[in-house]
Structure formats: C-alpha cells, structure tokens
C-alpha cells in the first residue's frame, strides 16, 4: 500500500512527459489571390503576406512588390510544356496585371508561377470548368414568391474526376432600401452594421450538381430559390461552376469561421492548393441572364 501512491505518481509524471504539443509562434506566409473567369481576360493577381492575427491589417502594409509573375497555359494538362505564357507586371504595390490582353479558356489547365523577391518559387494549377450555356430566356419578369418560380435551364458543365459544382448568384441593379425583399429588409433592419451594399450580391454557396434535375436531353434544371433574391427590380442571375481550388477555398473558409461541423474554438486552416504559399488561384466558368423581379401582387 505504501508503495502504491508513489508508483502511481511516478507513472503520472511519465505520462505527462509524453505530451509535447505546444503552439508555435507566428509564421509569415506569402498569400496569392487570383480568380480566372473563362472567356474573360486574365485577371489581376494580388500578392501579399499574412499579418499577425491581432494586429491591424491593411493590404498596403502586407503587399509584396518586386515579384516575377506569370501564368502558363498548359494545353496538354498538368506536367505538359506551356503553349502560352502570360507575363505580369506590378501596377501598384502587391497588385499585378497581365502585360497583354489574352483570354481564359474553359476546360483548360493553367499554371501560376511566382518568384518572390526572396527567390521563393510559388506554383499553383487550376483547371477551368467546362463551358456551359444558360438556355433560359433573357429579360423575363417574374413575380416574387408567385406561383411560378424562375427556372434556369443550362447545358451541363464538366469537370475532370467529379460532378460539377455550382454557385448561384444574383446581383441587384437597384439597391435602394425600398427594393429590399421582406426577409432581407428584416436583416437590414435588425443590424445597424449592415449596409445595402452587403445585399447587392447574394450567393448560394457551393451546390453540387446532384441537387439539380437532369432532363432527358442532358440539360439541367434549376429553380431559382427565393432566398437568393434580395432586391426587387432588375437582377443579374449568374450561374458559375468552380474549380477544385475555389471549392476547397470556399468550403474550408466557411468551416473555419462559420461552420457548425467543428467544435467552437477549433479553427482548422483553409485548404489551399498552392505550393509555397497560401491563398487561392481559382477559376470560374459562368453564364448570366438578366431578369426583372416583380413585387408580389397586392
């Protein structure tokens, strides 16, 4: 008996010594941000670093100047030799623009290559989602929460190795408070920090292709949910398909800061698909129609 307690205390100390899981000090990382839209010109690229979490943040303070940046077109896919190279130059600190006009192709592989001022080489790939077309008639008028929901019909997009992932966005053209739909008016009215600009563009978040009805001819039907409409009047309805990088970036950002799927206080890093930096080098393929959302009949 007299040896029992000391033995246990010793074993406790041994067990305790096994635990070595201390947090580490802040490490600065390079951050890139670029969004390629199929059919559009190559975009600006933002190049910066992270900031200590609880220090004041401004892009100008963390912008990285003097980097060598290019996007390579890899017609043969990842690992193939570039068939075209879009070079970039710095316009303002941390903001880089393409040196010449060229357009992003759908269903194509691109490689971003950045040589930072400290010679770190940063690379990332994106495969732009396949092209699709919105077949729905443009410039329709639809009564908000009326009998008929606005139905979008689109030809399918394709993405290698997985189903397509869509984001549905509506962008209001007249963001006056009188035009707010009831639910968004309630939001606006209940929070003084919110502005009308916060509701100008509303997005669905990522939606799997499995959510939609596939027609016999292969086209896809999507009923526009009323929650997507924040303002009456003219709205641009944008259907986008996203690449893996954007999907990982968006879903992990939601998990990190707004998710219900991890315990409160557990903050996982975002999923980045970049070598030697964090951020996003993502691509969209989109199509847009314009519609007029009418107030409900009295």
């Amino acid at each position: 008996m007299k040896y029992l307690l000391p033995l246990l205390l010793i074993s406790l100390a041994v067990l305790n010594s096994c635990v070595n899981y201390e947090d580490e000090d802040y490490i600065e990382y390079f951050v890139i941000e670029a969004y390629l839209f199929s059919g559009e010109q190559f975009p600006e690229i933002l190049f910066s670093t992270t900031n200590p979490a609880f220090e004041s943040y401004s892009f100008e303070d963390v912008a990285v100047s003097g980097a060598d940046i290019r996007i390579e077109s890899l017609g043969g896919g990842i690992g193939s030799a570039p068939d075209n190279v879009i070079t970039y130059s710095e316009s303002t600190p941390g903001v880089y623009l393409p040196d010449f006009e060229d357009f992003v192709e759908p269903g194509h592989t691109y490689r971003l290559v950045i040589t930072a001022p400290d010679e770190t080489e940063i690379t990332a790939h994106t495969i732009t989602p396949g092209a699709f077309e919105l077949l729905t008639e443009d410039n329709q008028s639809v009564e908000y929460q009326g009998e008929e929901q606005l139905e979008l019909v689109l030809t399918p997009s394709e993405y290698p190795g997985r189903q397509s992932i869509y984001i549905f966005t509506s962008i209001a053209q007249d963001t006056s408070v009188e035009n707010l739909t009831p639910i968004y008016f309630d939001f606006f009215d209940s929070d003084d920090d919110l502005t009308l600009e916060d509701f100008r563009a509303t997005s669905s978040g990522t939606l799997n292709e499995g959510n939609f009805t596939e027609n016999e001819d292969g086209t896809i039907n999507l009923d526009v949910p009323w929650l997507a409409i924040a303002f009456y009047g003219i709205n641009d309805l944008i259907v986008s398909t996203v690449d893996d990088n954007l999907f990982d970036f968006v879903s992990s950002q939601e998990t990190q800061l707004g998710g219900f799927s991890v315990s409160p206080g557990e903050i996982p890093n975002l999923n980045y698909n970049i070598d030697q930096a964090i951020g996003v080098f993502g691509s969209f393929t989109t199509d847009t129609i314009r519609t007029n959302i009418l107030r409900p009949a009295e």
Partner: protein, 754 residues
C-alpha cells in the same frame, strides 16, 4: 473438460436440478420493505462460512453449494438497515426467500456505518455508480439531472456548462452505449443538450461502465451507461409532484394484483419566461417545450416467472420565427419500448428475455423566404435479447446470451422542395457472447469472455475478447486489470453547442466500423473503515473512427462513403477517487489526469507541408486535470447542505496565428477573412472553476405528505468561465470576444410526496 462443462450446463438448464444434492442453496429477491422495489447490487451472505452473493439487475440472488447447517443470513445495502436471521439448511434444500430491507431513517447525530463488502460489486474494474438520491439532491441548473451528476465522477467530463453530453475516458458521447431498461437510447438529451432525458423520479439504478466492460455488452468503443427504471411501489399508492423554474414533474406508482406500476411525466414550464423575455428581447422562440413520459408495468406470474413492460417517450419541440420569412422548426426525440420475461430455471440458472424497440427522430425545418431546407434523420431499432446466468459451482459463474435485431437508418435532405440526399440503410445485427467469472481461490477472480458481433450493412463480422482479473491482496486492497476489444457500428454527428441537429450514421460498404482496445489497471482500497480510495489507470486506442467530413456541407450526388473522413485516436489517464461514506458528513473527491488525441488525414498538417503529415491533436473537450468535490452535510433534522466544486484545466482551443483579408468577388463574397493557425487546439482556455451549493429543507405539505424545498445557487462565486472565443472582423485589428459559460444562477424547487 469442456464437453463435461457443457453437458452440465445443458442438463442443469433443461432439468433445473441441482447436480450436487448433498448441499443446499438459497435464492430469491431482496426488496425495499416499504415499496417492494427490488434492490440491485444488494449483498447477502452466510456469516459463519463467509459465503455470499449480490443481487443482479433484477434484484435476484443465489447462493449455492452450502453445506447443511445453521447459519446467520445477513444482507446489507446502502441506505437500508442491515437484515439478519438464522437459517437452517438440510442437504438438498433449495430455499427461495424474499428478503425485505427497511430503509434507513436519518437519526440526527447517529453515526452510520456501512460495510465495505457491499460495495464490492460496485468496485469492479471500470464501474462507477451514483446514488439516485444524490442525483436529486445535487445542485443542478434548473433541475436534477442524471448526466450532470455522472459528470462529477472521475473519468467523466462535460464539454461545457451547456452540455450534458458524457465524454468518458477521452471518448465522444456516441462512444457510450446508453441503455434504459436494456433498450438503446439514441437521444439522451433535452433542451439542445442542456440536460439529459432521464427523469430522476423514475430511476432506480444508474450504473456506468467507464471502460473495460465485460462481454455481455457491446456496440460502443468506450463505455456503457445502464439505467433502470423503478418497478413501482408494490405495497402502496404513492406519488410526487415537483415544481421547478424550468420544468415540473409528476410521478405515480402503486400496486396491482401480483405486480406494480409506475408512471412518470415531465414537461418544461419555461413558456411564461419566454413570453416575458419576448417583450424585451429579440430571438426568443415562439414555442418551445420538451416532455417525457416513463412507464412500467410488472406482473409476477409466479416466483419463477416475472413479466414487465416499460416505455419511454420524449421529445423537444421548437417553433422559432426569427423573422416573418425566416422560421425554424425543430422536433427531435426518442421512444423506447421493451418487454421483459424473467425466468428462473433453477436455483442455478437465471434468465431474462427482452424485446426492445427504440426510435430516434430528428427533423429540423428552415424556411427562408419560402425556400425550405429540411432534414429527416430516423433510426428504428428493434431487437431480442436473451441473457442466461448459470452458477456452475463456487468457482464458475457463467453468463451467455444473444442479441439479435434490425436497424433502419434514414437520412433525407431537401432543398426548395427537391430531395438532395436520400439514404436509407437497413442492417440486421447480432451478437453472441459468453463469459465466465472464475474464482480459482479466495484471492483471485477472473472474468473472461468473448463477444461476436455481426452487422449486415457492409457485412461486418467482428470478434471481441474481454478479460479482467481481480486479486484481493488483503481484505482492504484489491488489485485489478482488464483488457477488451470493442467495436462501434454507428457514429453521431453532433455539436457540443447545440444537440438539436444530432444525426446518426451507420457503418456500410466503404465505411468500416470503428474499433479499439482498452487496457485498464486498478486498485480499490479501504484505507479506513467507511472510506474508500480507488485508482484506475487506462489506455485505449480508437481506430477507423468515421465521422462527417467537416469541409463537406452538401452531400447531393455524393456516395455515402464520400461524406465521411476516417481517422484514429487514443486516450490515457489516471483516476483517483476518495470517498467518505460514514458519519454526518459524506462525499467524495475525484481527480482525473487524462489526455485524448485524434488524427485525421489531411487535417492539422503543417501549413505549406505535406497534407499526409497530419499531426495528432486534442479535441476541445480534452482536459488534463479535473477535480470534483462533493460534500453532503445534514445541518439539522430538517436542513441538509450540499456542496460541489469542480476545477479543471482549460479546454483545448486554437489560437489564430495570422490573418488574411481576401478581396474576393461577387460570386464567392467580398472581403473574405481567414486565419492561419500553426497547430490545432494547441492552446488552453483559462482553467475552469465552479462551486455550487444547495440547501434542502424537508417538511410536510399540510400533513398530507412529505415536502421538500431546494434552494440552490449554481456558480456561487460567479466565476467567469470561458466557453470559447469568437472573433469580430468588423474591428481592425480583429477583436477577440469571450463567450462565457454560466454566471451565478439561483434556483428553487418545491417537491411534494404523497
């Protein structure tokens, strides 16, 4: 040898005769004299030959191989007067007794002495028990709660003041099998997890197998919580009405011909407070209530055949119109039904057969500008269980049984009227087990067993050996060791902040069941008469854990196995338990040193490193040190003071290291913020401290019955414990906002027993 043993078992079961007619035996039930309620774990012994037994979960005992002679038969049970009588046994006698014990009456300054022997069964490795009277007396937020009381035991942790979930020996709540009268309970919480569904008025016995549990149980990686409802008073009609701030309870029990009944009901009574709050505060639900019913009917066909049927039905219902066009409706709950036939084949063979049905349902609906999101998760589980206990001789007590059942799992998600995910899985399951409690000498007791599990969804067949050994070093020191392998075919998606969306998933093709090994060492000692000092050390592994991938929030079009991530974990710790069971002041001190770790591929790997280099991390509920003190002290005949105090290491959380603000775009959103972190959950919240006090005043209700006032203060020192930190990006720099746990909280309950 095995053949002879088997032959003896079969003959004995078939013919119900003692194979050793030159000796005698005694069997029967031990009951509460006032209520006729059978007592679980009561001890009975023949003093002169130091031969004894204890009652099983149905209050039944048997002592065999007694040489003819005259003996003093003694029984003891906590809270009851000791019973003694002379008994003379002749060769071949098989005597059936019904022993009735008088409940102890508290008598002022009288010293109450309990024998340590009666706790022997409760001191088996990994087992913890909590007195149902203590559950009702302990200070509790708004109302007495079984799980909150269990959380005071070493090895059991709470995730927060707001969660009654049981985190036992490093496992998540789904790793504990919860049985109510042998039926599985899938949803053990009310009020979004705030407290458990079990009405303390209806409960007779609460037994927790923290780890290393024997082969008669299975299906969970960690532990088993077995709760038995009261049978009902067999002598008189009695009842209870209790009015509390959050809920009110009613309880009725009484005799019927050859049996008894028990009915208990509980309903939240919070609506008037919500109505007042709604006048001044936004975000208060229009409707919220929970209710539960427990019932039981017992019928004794003969002394050898007893039947009972029991049910539990409970649910939570929320109607929450946040705005005119944003409405949340929530319904979730559980129902269990069971029918039990207990049959005594002979003085050596005891059996029970149980039919169980359990249903879990959860169906949240969000309506957002006429766009409806719904989820429907159901589990239907029906089973037949049989347990047969055969006392072969003084050395071997054999138990074997089978559990056969079927389970239907359904998960349907809809969005805007369209079904986006629809998974229905049907699985048959079965388990066979055998265990032998072998006592080769006075000092040794060895419990060896094997359990074979089958789960048809995925076609999984798994074997699970179990072994434990007790060595009685002295009368006051008992050394113990146990090993077991355990399997789990289900997993629960839950969030400790809110259990209203709890969703169960089952193993299937491509989703292997989780499994783990447990190793436990223990020492149970009696340093002084009336005191106990116990130590247990454990290590357990958790393999093939499957849980929802936290980065997937849209399952549409995905195969079932694609919505999960698969990982491993382990936990180890040491538990100390010191209790004082004698004198005016009683109570216990529990201390736990423990740690638990998880590892999931491509999670918690070094930023810019290889995603395959994922590092172990502690889940949020990990606490290194945890101390609980519970003291009960009668101040006078009428007044009793109860105190409990908890100190624990702060929980693990993740400290943001760096931040980025992405400019974004109209499609994914503008000005997107994010943190970078170095290690997941590598920082600790401030240490947790909370002291609760309760004063009980016992009296009468206008001479019609006993009455009790409970005046309680939770967190009496108003310690500002931290639940977690949230971050406000509207400020620059980012503002870290502390989200606190419970402040000081008074509570009053009035209970009348009639």
């Amino acid at each position: 040898m095995i053949l002879r043993l088997l032959t003896a078992v079969v003959l004995s079961i078939l013919f119900g005769t003692s194979l050793l007619a030159q000796t005698a035996s005694i069997n029967g039930y031990i009951k509460d004299k006032n209520t006729g309620e059978t007592l679980i774990g009561a001890n009975i012994a023949l003093i002169e030959i130091n031969k004894g037994s204890s009652t099983n979960t149905l209050g039944y005992f048997t002592i065999t191989n007694i040489p003819p002679g005259t003996y003093t038969l003694a029984t003891s049970y906590i809270g009851y007067d000791t019973f003694q009588r002379q008994i003379t046994l002749a060769a071949g006698d098989r005597i059936t007794l019904e022993v009735e014990l008088d409940p102890e009456v508290f008598q002022g300054e009288e010293i109450i002495v309990e024998s340590e022997r009666e706790q022997q069964e409760q001191k088996n490795i990994g087992i913890a028990q909590i007195d149902t009277d203590l559950i009702v007396s302990l200070p509790a937020v708004f109302q007495a709660d079984v799980f909150r009381s269990i959380q005071l035991l070493p090895g059991v942790k709470a995730a927060s003041d707001y969660s009654s979930g049981l985190y036992i020996r490093g496992g998540s709540p789904d790793q504990t099998l919860i049985l109510l009268d042998r039926a599985t309970v899938y949803n053990p919480t009310h009020f979004f997890g705030f407290f458990s569904t079990f009405n303390p008025d209806a409960i007779k016995d609460v037994r927790l197998y923290k780890g290393g549990y024997p082969s008669e149980y299975g299906g969970r990686l960690g532990s088993v919580l077995s709760i038995y409802n009261k049978d009902g008073n067999r002598n008189n009609n009695t009842g209870l009405v209790s009015l509390g701030l959050l809920s009110s309870r009613a309880f009725l029990e009484g005799p019927i011909k050859n049996g008894s009944f028990m009915l208990a009901a509980r309903r939240s009574t919070i609506e008037p407070y919500l109505a007042v709050l709604r006048e001044t505060t936004d975000g208060i639900p229009d409707g919220f209530y929970f209710l539960d019913f427990n019932g039981r009917l017992n019928y004794d066909l003969s002394t050898k055949d007893k039947f009972s049927v029991a049910f539990y039905s409970g649910g939570d219902y929320v109607d929450f119109p946040v705005f005119d066009q944003l409405v949340i409706n929530l319904e979730y709950g559980n129902q269990t039904y069971n029918g039990t036939w207990t049959h005594i084949f002979s003085d050596r063979v005891f059996s029970n057969f149980v039919f169980t049905y359990s249903r879990y349902f959860n169906s949240p609906v969000f309506e957002f500008a006429e766009t409806e999101f719904t989820q429907k998760n159901d589990i239907y589980d029906y089973s037949l269980k049989s347990d047969i206990e055969y006392i072969l001789n003084d050395e071997h007590n054999i138990k074997f049984g089978a559990w056969l059942g079927g389970m239907t799992f359904r998960l349907v998600n809809t969005f805007d009227g369209e079904t986006t995910f629809n998974q229905r899985l049907q699985s048959d399951y079965g388990a066979l087990y055998v265990q032998d409690i072998w006592k080769p000498s006075q000092r040794w007791e060895i419990n060896g067993g094997f359990r074979l599990n089958y789960f048809s969804s995925g076609n999984f067949l798994r074997g699970a050996p179990r072994l434990s050994a007790d060595y009685f070093l002295t009368d006051r020191i008992r050394l113990q060791a146990a090993y077991g392998r355990y399997h789990q075919f289900l997993t629960l998606f839950s969030n400790e902040a809110f259990s209203g969306f709890d969703t169960w998933y089952i193993a299937a093709d491509g989703v292997d069941p989780a499994w783990g090994d447990q190793f436990v060492l223990g020492a149970k000692t009696v340093p002084f008469e009336g005191y106990g000092f116990d130590v247990e050390v454990y290590y357990r592994s958790m393999n093939d854990l499957f849980e929802l991938n936290p980065f997937i929030d849209d399952y549409a079009g995905l195969a079932y196995e694609e919505i999960f991530r698969f990982g491993d974990g382990y936990a180890y710790g040491t538990e100390f338990f010191f209790e004082k069971r004698m004198g005016r002041t009683t109570g216990f001190v529990g201390y736990t040193y423990s740690t638990t770790w998880r590892n999931f591929p491509e999670y918690n790997y070094p930023l810019l490193g290889d995603p395959q280099d994922s590092r172990d991390y502690p889940p949020k509920y990990d606490r290194t040190h945890d101390v609980n003190v519970v003291v009960t002290h009668p101040l006078s005949r009428k007044w009793t003071f109860i105190f409990n105090f908890n100190f624990a290491t702060g929980q693990a959380y993740t400290t943001p290291s760096g931040r980025v603000e992405y400019s974004g775009n109209d499609i994914i959103g503008n000005e997107l913020n994010s943190f970078t972190v170095q290690k997941l959950n590598a920082t600790r919240l401030p240490n947790y401290r909370r002291a609760d006090i309760s004063f009980e005043r016992n009296g009468t209700f206008f001479g019609m019955g006993d009455a009790q006032w409970q005046f309680q203060i939770i967190n009496v020192f108003n310690t500002r414990n931290v639940w977690f930190y949230s971050y406000d990006f509207d400020d620059n720099p980012v503002d870290e906002v502390e989200v606190p746990l419970l402040p000081i909280l008074p509570s009053i309950t009035y209970t009348v027993k009639f």
